[in-house]
Symmetry: C2
DNA sequence: AAAAACTATTTAACATGTTAAGTTGATCAG
DNA sequence: CTGATCAACTTAACATGTTAAATAGTTTTT
């Protein structure tokens, strides 16, 4: 229905159509990720947290103190987003900030007791969900998937980004 | 420093720490996807398109005419986002809309000649990038990855979302 | 030391993600 | 046929993604 093979109305198109949409790798990754997050979002929401806010709190559990830029890398958030979210988390007194006297530009972020308490409340639920996913999908397969994703990322980072405007490194 | 391995110092922590952040599946999927998109974004940007705008145009290549809600499912965009983007694409005359007389609520979207032309300009570059990714990562491995992601998604959709507020289907 | 160059972070501006509410047209009960 | 209900979109409101510019503090150059 309405799915004509080629020839976009009027002009003779010689070019082959692009690959099927469903074979798009970005789409596949997006769909998978959304399917995963759909499991976690409700419990986060119940605790008044967004996915990104949770990423930040979670990162601070393992490292306790981090500079803003470190935290950005750890959570894979861009610094402008992080900056805004930190402001909110600080206002909610879930995190606190201070600057070392040696360099006042830097900000060192850490959890407050309230932040730790919130994590303690949410973590068990998250872990349970993760365990269920692992059980269903299979621990081995899950590990294999992680490995394949890691390889994909590594391989892609090695490709210089080709385009008209900017080169890969900097110019 | 400041990276205490839990429980060995300071306060007696009874709860086990959460899994390492790097083992988080959502993070892994996010990182992979970003690595992929980093390849595509520049060329899209050169043509004045965002990733989502491209998804829409691309979807309309294979189906030519789609209702808004169909398009939302096809592109995996939420309807509010789609609604805004369609407004912009329409203003730029890359797509056009009409409503069937039988049901004026519906909107049927299709590409304009300019939209088709834009796709013809971008598609070869996208295909080349995709080919390079496939070559580097391996066609077989890529297919395997697609399959694993598909299975993950399927498995996850089968899990009822457990949380406090809303039940899964409807109540 | 003062100007220039650099660094860490924040602001700004615009696009999208996300949930809730509003609009308009279609359908159905009475 | 009229009011209730439903369906397809759109708007609204707020949070984040993304790129560029601004701020403020630090280091280097002269």
């Amino acid at each position: 229905m309405g799915n004509k093979p080629s020839g976009t109305a009027g002009k003779t198109s010689r070019k082959p159509p692009m690959r099927e949409f469903s074979r798009s790798l970005p789409m596949a990754l997006l769909r998978s990720r959304e399917a995963v997050m759909r499991q976690f979002r409700p419990s986060l929401r119940d605790h008044g947290l967004t996915e990104q806010q949770w990423r930040i709190l979670r990162a601070l559990t393992s490292i306790e103190q981090m500079e803003v830029s470190e935290l950005a890398r750890a959570t894979y958030l861009l610094e402008p987003s992080l900056s805004r979210i930190l402001r909110d988390l600080e206002a909610r007194q879930l995190i606190q900030r201070r600057s070392p006297e040696s360099d006042l530009r830097r900000g060192i972020v850490s959890l407050t007791p309230a932040g730790s308490a919130l994590i303690d409340a949410v973590a068990p639920i998250s872990e349970a969900i993760y365990a269920e996913i692992t059980r269903r999908y299979g621990a081995k397969k899950l590990e294999a998937l992680h490995e394949m994703l890691r390889e994909l990322e590594t391989e892609l980072l090695a490709i210089p980004v080709k385009n008209g405007a900017d080169a890969d490194g900097d110019e």
